[in-house]
């Protein structure tokens, strides 16, 4: 028991620190990658290659004046940054990031809390993030902030559904809601991104919407809403929203890695999957996990600096008319396919099983992507001319 407590406290502190440092570096990465994409250099003055820029930004934010609008709801105004910041970090608690670490007192699971209901926990806390944004928008007593908050609530709730539906397919295939079991299932055979490509597509679109990143950053929409829900925030409270946004990105990337890209699994090898656990295995799998998460974080930044923002009606049309029916239909198809493969043909999950499902996905994807590409499903301007 003592061992469990000590190990948990150490894991909490380490994971928290790593995420905070990661988030700080991510703000720098965002600015530098954006600069490179625009043929600029980006911040490179503070420290080698600008590595200390986040520290300088943080110091600046600590020293800046905290403003409090006279008409703001003080309690909620102060609470909102924490409300968006805490769920973003909490979600990471159930994500397994490496193989267990052997210590003289026993193996330590490389996950802060190995919850049996890990997946449900993620869905629950993922939805809590919207409260911070909505409360910030409402408590600011500013019409632009309120609009941003409303947009955020509508958007997050809409895409939450598609996200949840897309992950049902993962649960069907894994047969378990414990994330470490999901990872173990993928490590044994084939990553879920192949048998569930379309679920992954839905999930990544929904994840972009959930994290309020372009092309779904309507709650911020600096052009029309003047930064939306955080217009009235300054200094460290503003920073908290930023940290929340980037922590959300880290968590969403970790989630995509865990659910679809095998978590800490090193591809094409089996030695990392089974006991006896060694420190080397822990380090190697941790590195694999970090590389995968890093790729997704790069994808986030890459997409942000490429795509323009959706219009609000397009966002809603995509969420409700495309993503939700697609996710529902996909769950049905996958459930049927799984039933046929498992019950009728009597296969168990292995590489062959995965490849058959992959072929099914490709067959479904071709007409879907054709329709999406031609604008049959979400048109640039959907309004029909009324006579």
């Amino acid at each position: 028991m003592t061992f469990f407590l000590v190990a948990s406290v150490i894991k909490i502190i380490v994971v928290f620190t790593v995420i905070m440092v990661g988030v700080a570096l991510l703000t720098l990465a965002e600015r530098r990658i954006c600069a490179w994409m625009q043929d600029r250099l980006g911040p490179n003055r503070v420290g080698p290659q600008g590595l200390l820029q986040p520290a300088a930004d943080g110091l600046k934010n600590l020293l800046k004046e905290e403003t409090l609008p006279a008409q703001a709801d003080k309690v909620l105004f102060l609470l909102a940054p924490a409300m968006s910041f805490v769920p973003a970090l909490l979600t990471f608690a159930v994500i397994p990031f490496a193989t267990p670490l052997p210590t003289p007192w026993g193996d330590v699971d490389m996950v802060v809390a190995n919850l049996p209901v890990g997946f449900l926990y993620i869905l629950a806390f993922g939805s809590l993030g919207v409260y911070g944004i909505v409360l910030a928008g409402w408590a600011s007593n500013n019409k632009y902030s309120l609009l941003g908050g409303l947009r955020a609530s509508a958007q997050l709730i809409s895409y939450e559904i598609a996200m949840g539906m897309s992950t049902v397919a993962v649960l069907l295939l894994a047969g378990n809601v414990t994330l470490s079991e999901v990872v173990a299932r993928q490590a044994q055979s084939i990553w879920f991104v192949f048998p569930l490509s379309l679920a992954y597509f839905i999930f990544i679109v929904a994840a972009f919407a959930e994290t309020n990143r372009l092309p779904f950053d309507l709650p911020e929409a600096e052009g029309e809403l003047i930064a939306g829900y955080h217009t009235e925030y300054s200094a460290m409270k503003f920073s908290m929203f930023y940290i929340a946004e980037y922590s959300n990105m880290v968590t969403a990337s970790a989630l995509m890695t865990t659910l679809f890209f095998g978590g800490w699994d090193i591809p094409f090898t089996q030695w990392d999957n089974a006991p006896p656990w060694t420190v080397l295995k822990t380090i190697a799998t941790l590195a694999a996990f970090c590389v995968k998460v890093g790729c997704f974080l790069f994808l986030y930044i890459w997409v942000r600096w490429t795509l323009p923002r959706f219009r609000y009606d397009q966002l809603m049309a995509l969420g409700w008319k495309v993503m939700l029916p697609l996710a529902l239909g996909y769950v049905t198809v996958i459930a049927t396919a799984l039933w046929i493969l498992h019950a009728v043909l009597g296969w168990s999950y292995d590489t062959r099983f995965g490849l058959v499902l992959f072929v099914l996905n490709v067959l479904l994807a071709i007409p879907l992507f054709f329709g999406l590409d031609r604008g049959h499903l979400v048109a640039g301007s959907v309004a029909e001319e009324r006579a």
Binding site: I33, A35, W36, M37, Q38, D39, R40, L41, W302, V303, W305, T306, L307, R311, Y312, D313, F369, L372, D373, R374, G375, H376, V378, A379, G380, S381, V382, A383, E384, E385
Partner: protein
């Protein structure tokens, strides 16, 4: 349905969402590796794409003769022609009858950098300079006196000549 949204009737062959997205992402990715246009200012002050024009009219410089005295003969033409009235000149005369400026001050805040003072100067004494880094800690430091004008070392500008528009 959004109200008042303009509807563009586009033929299906022109519509592309996913392909356009992928194309855009390929473009931004290719830009990651391209040479950057940023000129890192305090270290680099000119690049192959940008240099300060030789005709740039910046803060003034008074040229001096071999003895280090200002070439100015206090003829009074520059304060006369100055449209901003920023040159203060009090002439003096030494025992040989040579005129020289007792006080020669240019208020760089009033100056409009038209370059007339350089153009009108018969002795080629006062010049506008190819120089732009003028930051100071107080406003009164922007009134340049004769000593300071003589101490400037930056290159002077070549004024535009209508008969030789390209400066050849």
């Amino acid at each position: 349905m959004a109200i008042g949204v303009k509807v563009m009737k586009r033929p299906g062959s022109q519509v592309s969402y996913l392909r356009a997205t992928l194309k855009g992402m390929a473009l931004t990715f290719s830009h990651l590796w391209r040479p950057k246009v940023t000129m890192q200012y305090p270290e680099e002050k000119s690049s192959k794409d940008w240099t300060l024009s030789p005709r740039w009219r910046g803060t003034h410089r008074m040229l001096t003769d071999e003895q280090g005295r200002a070439k100015c003969v206090a003829c009074g033409l520059c304060p006369q022609i100055c449209p901003a009235n920023c040159i203060k000149l009090v002439p003096g005369e030494d025992e040989h009858g040579n005129r020289y400026p007792l006080i020669y001050e240019i208020d760089e805040f009033r100056c409009v950098f038209c370059g007339y003072c350089q153009e009108v100067c018969p002795e080629e004494a006062i010049h506008v300079g190819v120089h732009y880094e003028n930051a100071e800690y107080s406003r009164d430091r922007f009134v340049y006196d004769l000593e300071r004008l003589c101490a400037q070392t930056h290159p002077v500008s070549t004024l535009w000549d209508p008969s030789d528009p390209k400066g050849e």
